[in-house]
């Protein structure tokens, strides 16, 4: 989930723009995990997340010439991804295929595995039920490991707003998951 810090994004972009397309593979390899996971947690659907991630990379490639190296590359990437997620969003998909498969597999296993699968499903549904601006801070914090400052830059709001949204999102999650938290 975490990013490979050895990759210099600006340098990879520069090489790409100088006619070295293999440098773009470096960027895709570096960001595919985090981009896909953010899309998956925002959309709740594996196939839609795949489309969102792939479309984002293609658009990034097409717009590479307009990238401002002074900006964080991820922040730029993230804005494009969010637009793709909005375009793809067709249904809540809380009862996703993967979730149902997880439970189906768990049904045939030990009772505690069933409970763990149900708990994970409840958490996924609770995250998907959050309003989008709350969901995105939870996703960026817990599944992309972004700091307050990085989130502020990616979302385009002050760090204070990020903290406030995180607080509210967690309050809502705790309320939704109260029964599970007591176990």
């Amino acid at each position: 989930m975490y990013l490979d810090q050895s990759v210099d994004d600006a340098e990879a972009v520069r090489r790409c723009l100088n006619g070295e397309p293999a440098a773009f593979d470096t960027l895709v390899a570096r960001y595919q995990q985090v981009l896909f996971n953010v899309a998956f947690r925002m959309l709740g659907d594996y196939e839609e997340a795949r489309d969102a991630a792939q479309n984002t990379f293609v658009k990034v490639y097409e717009k590479l010439g307009s990238y401002d190296p002074q900006r964080r590359f991820f922040s730029w990437l993230y804005r494009i991804l969010m637009n793709e997620c909005l375009n793809l969003r067709r249904r809540p998909a809380a009862d996703s295929f993967s979730g149902r498969m997880e439970l189906a597999v768990a049904d045939r296993t030990a009772p505690d595995a069933v409970e763990a699968a149900e708990r994970r499903r409840a958490v996924k549904q609770a995250i998907l039920a959050l309003q989008p601006d709350y969901r995105e801070v939870i996703v960026l914090r817990h599944f992309a490991a972004l700091s307050y400052e990085e989130m502020s830059d990616a979302i385009g709001v002050p760090a204070k707003t990020v903290k406030s949204r995180l607080y509210s999102a967690r309050q809502q999650l705790a309320s939704e998951l109260a029964a599970w938290m007591k176990r």
Partner: protein, 417 residues
């Protein structure tokens, strides 16, 4: 009673602590808050529980073909949005083309070879005849009906430099002459790695051929995640080690190696050595890899840093430590941000590598205590971190009574003071 302003400040501290965003001054304030306010301790424990539940659902492995599919899409794009003179598309190399078509096409060709026999090394494969002519030339060993997945992909592969290099490569030819190797290579994922020197050289090794006769290894090679892991240089160099292949054939391990952080870990020479250690070949590491808490843990950057430490890499070779990390209580503890941060401290990391501490981790009572909230809070508060370094603590903690006491709220409060 706290004012609303105080309560809001307390909440900000608790959330910042959970997010690892405390400044030095805030850390002092936070420690003081936990030590003096039972309500804050309760709310912090609740936040920790929520965080654990959220992060337990963990990252999802992206589709195995995302990078390849993206490369394919990008390769079809013209220079839209790219300033004149900054051509991206025009520089598409043959190697890149080979990568795009290799996954599907190699499977086609290699399955065909497996069925019909390896083609003779003639002029075409030695480069005196053009690549296109080579493809069009009669090749009695390969009937059109043998190509199952699409001739376009096969053509692209066979006209690529990668294929040309493959055919000229003694090591590859030798490997492909082995039926077991060809059978294994029929899988989609491994085929595209043929362009890699290390993999090709490894393919010629007798160890791999022997390993590929093992059903577990064959199964592993069918998992794309596994073959992608093999693209990791350090691991690819170990491909000839049959024991390592069998160990990696476990689906849980195959899943784990998909993670970039784990990939970096596994690239560590010491860890690769550890993987080959007898202790790591026990069921303990397999159990540990299947634990969701540990799976989450290995994706934690602080823990990755910690595990990358050479001292810790040595500790991992200790059987008591390996046994300990398979324990769910400990895995749960390690996801605690307070401890994860603590483990980045040199003193704590050094302490954990001491044999006494490793043994301590092997003590069931101690591990049980580690799983209790009181102990976790104490660790997060900092005072216990210092105590853990001392031999006196290590010695005392081996006693069951002491270990049990570690989990009590009173102990947590004492450590916070």
């Amino acid at each position: 009673m706290n004012s609303s302003k105080d309560s809001s400040r307390d909440d900000a501290l608790l959330h910042a602590a959970i997010d690892g965003e405390l400044t030095r001054d805030e850390r002092v304030e936070f420690d003081r808050l936990l030590a003096t306010s039972p309500d804050a301790r309760k709310r912090f424990a609740s936040l920790q529980r929520l965080t654990l539940m959220v992060e337990e659902i963990g990252p999802v492995a992206p589709p195995a073909d995302l990078v390849r599919a993206t490369a394919r899409e990008v390769s079809m794009r013209k220079t839209v949005g790219v300033p004149v003179g900054r051509t991206l598309q025009g520089e598409m190399s043959m190697a890149r083309k080979g990568m795009i078509g290799l996954a599907a096409a190699a499977a086609v060709v290699l399955v065909t070879f497996a069925i019909t026999g390896y083609p003779p090394i003639g002029k075409g494969t030695e480069g005196t005849i053009g690549q296109a002519n080579r493809y069009q030339a009669p090749q009695p060993q390969m009937a059109a009906s043998d190509v199952k997945l699409g001739d376009t992909a096969a053509q692209q592969f066979m006209q690529s430099d990668a294929f040309d290099r493959l055919l000229k490569d003694d090591a590859a030819r030798k490997a492909l002459g082995n039926a077991a190797v060809r059978e294994a290579l029929a899988g989609d994922g491994l085929a595209r790695l043929l362009a890699d020197d290390a993999v090709r050289n490894a393919l010629a090794g007798p160890g791999l051929a022997a390993a590929m006769k093992d059903q577990a290894v064959k199964n592993a090679l069918a998992v794309d995640a596994y073959t992608r892991a093999l693209s990791n240089g350090a691991l690819a160099a170990k491909i000839t080690d049959a024991a390592l292949l069998v160990r990696l054939s476990d689906p849980a391990i195959a899943q784990a190696v998909q993670d970039a952080a784990f990939g970096r870990l596994i690239a560590d020479r010491a860890l690769v050595a550890a993987l080959q250690d007898k202790a790591m070949n026990s069921d303990a590491i397999t159990r540990a890899a299947k634990d969701p808490a540990l799976a989450s843990l290995i994706r934690n950057q602080a823990m990755v840093n910690f595990l990358n430490d050479s001292l810790i890499a040595r500790a991992i070779q200790d059987s008591a430590f390996v046994s300990a990390i398979s324990d769910r209580a400990l895995a749960g503890l390690l996801t605690n941000r307070g401890l994860a941060q603590a483990m980045q401290q040199e003193a704590i990391a050094s302490a954990l590598t001491k044999s006494g501490m490793a043994q301590l981790f092997g003590n069931a009572s101690f591990r049980s205590a580690l799983g209790r909230d009181g102990f976790r809070q104490a660790v997060g508060a900092g005072a216990l971190q210092q105590a853990m370094v001392s031999q006196a603590f290590i010695g005392a903690a081996r006693a069951d009574g002491f270990a049990a006491a570690l989990g009590t709220p009173r102990f947590a409060a004492a450590m916070g003071n």
